[in-house]
């Protein structure tokens, strides 16, 4: 008689169930993980959700610069430093806003995006922003040329000496080949502005019409220089104004953007038939009118040379 019962020889059910449950679990887990992987791959790579909620900090570098430029314009209009600070944080939360403003100014310069007076104004706004957010801060590049000129300091009013009407034109500091071909007109100096305000820091000491030259047609060449020196002064704002129906046209230039022509040089292209006045806003009186008149049958427009000199 056997000592074992028949039941003792049967495979134990608890062990079988545990093993089966384990296999089910493993299969389910593996398939779940595989499914998640497939789902993520599909949703991130094959058919990613079209982005509609991009924030400024997700923009590519070029468009971040555009956004900061817009912030600088906003600041120029609103003069609200807190608002500007917060807007800059939106563009680069990880960067100090003053640093972002300085870096953007340098980036604009590096990319050659400082071409027009509007561009220069933007750089000046950016300089103002980082200077006010962090006084004494310097950008990592040379922005001296765009920095605002020193304020006017005049000791006492005194009569402004006028130049004799036959004074020859002043030689430019570094004339280009094209410029050197232009002979200065033997015609007399057009005008020397009347000393209407003895308090002005600069005076237009020469306004000289040039000889008729098709290669240099209709250009006002402006030089701003120190008194008793041929050193040009860079970064000086120059205003050119002309009359248009219902108002006055105006363009802002800055000296020093064509270093080959000298630190204190800027120029302006005239339109035939218009009459222009040139001034250094807040620092000089405007010149007498400069007429963009045709000087030959080919349609060449007479050019002018205007020299401003500090008092």
């Amino acid at each position: 008689m056997s000592r074992f019962k028949a039941d003792d020889l049967v495979y134990e059910p608890p062990v079988e169930n545990a093993s089966r449950a384990l296999v089910y679990g493993v299969v389910a887990l593996l398939c779940l993980v595989a499914g998640i992987g497939i789902g993520l791959y599909y949703s991130w790579n094959v058919e990613p959700r079209i982005e509609r909620n991009t924030r400024p900090d997700q923009l590519r570098e070029e468009d971040r610069v555009n956004f900061v430029v817009a912030i600088a314009l906003d600041y120029a209009h609103q003069n609200n430093l807190d608002r500007t600070f917060n807007l800059l944080l939106q563009v680069a939360p990880e960067v100090e806003p003053s640093q972002l403003a300085a870096d953007t100014a340098c980036e604009l310069k590096r990319r050659g995006r400082v071409q027009t007076s509007a561009d220069i104004a933007v750089v000046r706004h950016l300089i103002r922003i980082y200077s006010e957010l962090q006084p004494g801060m310097q950008a990592d590049c040379d922005l001296e040329i765009f920095a605002t000129s020193a304020p006017v300091t005049v000791a006492a009013p005194s009569p402004v000496p006028t130049q004799p009407p036959t004074q020859p034109p002043v030689a430019t500091k570094t004339a280009t080949a094209a410029a050197s071909q232009v002979e200065v007109s033997p015609s007399p100096v057009l005008s020397t502005p009347a000393p209407t305000s003895a308090l002005q820091e600069f005076q237009a000491i020469q306004v000289v019409p040039q000889t008729c030259n098709p290669e240099n047609s209709g250009v006002i060449e402006i030089y701003v220089r120190e008194a008793n020196s041929s050193d040009g002064i860079p970064g000086v704002e120059v205003n050119v104004t002309w009359n248009i129906p219902g108002g006055q046209g105006r363009d802002r230039l800055f000296t020093g953007l064509k270093p080959i022509r000298g630190d204190g040089y800027a120029d302006f292209e005239m339109v035939a038939g218009e009459t222009y006045r040139v001034s250094l806003p807040g620092r000089s009186d405007p010149t007498d009118p400069l007429v963009a008149e045709q000087c030959d049958e080919a349609g060449t427009i007479r050019s002018y040379q205007v020299v401003f000199q500090s008092q």
């Binding site: 389910a28 887990l29 998640i36 993520l40 991130w44 990613p48 046209g249």
Partner: protein, 142 residues
């Protein structure tokens, strides 16, 4: 064996569903080098307002157009999403935005900023007339 397969299929389907939820809703793709035309609509409006204010500062319409041009959808595949308004023509966009702000009764100061730029584009509509600035900037004809 059949039950193993069924378990696998069900788990796989659940996983795919969960993966899609995570990939599309919970953790969608974070774009780092996006373009201006992909900006959230609110930021696009803010950007346009800032440029409009810049126009009031410098009166340079060419510069304003150049600054707004990156908002255009044209030729950028990633920007062809399902937005209600696709920016293709800058003066149209400024006019649209100014009218939208007027119709929604937004801040009059913002409306005036936009209307000033719309006026620069000669896109003044009757609704905008009462928001026209007294002295709009003069465009330099260069």
């Amino acid at each position: 064996m059949r039950t193993y397969v069924m378990t696998g299929i069900v788990a796989l389907a659940l996983g795919i569903g969960l993966g899609l939820y995570l990939g599309w809703i919970q953790f969608p793709v974070e774009y780092e080098d996006s373009r201006m035309c992909q900006l959230d609509e609110q930021y696009q409006e803010d950007y346009t307002l800032m440029v409009a204010r810049g126009y009031q500062v410098d009166g340079n319409l060419d510069a304003a157009i150049a600054r707004l041009r990156p908002l255009r959808v044209a030729e950028v595949e990633a920007c062809n999403d399902s937005r209600p308004y696709k920016i293709n023509n800058i003066p149209d966009w400024v006019e649209y935005l100014a009218e939208q702000y007027i119709s929604e009764g937004r801040d009059p100061v913002q409306i005036r900023d936009l209307v000033a730029l719309a006026a620069g584009f000669e896109r003044v509509t009757p609704a905008m007339e009462s928001f026209l600035p007294q002295n709009s900037p003069v465009e330099t004809p260069r």
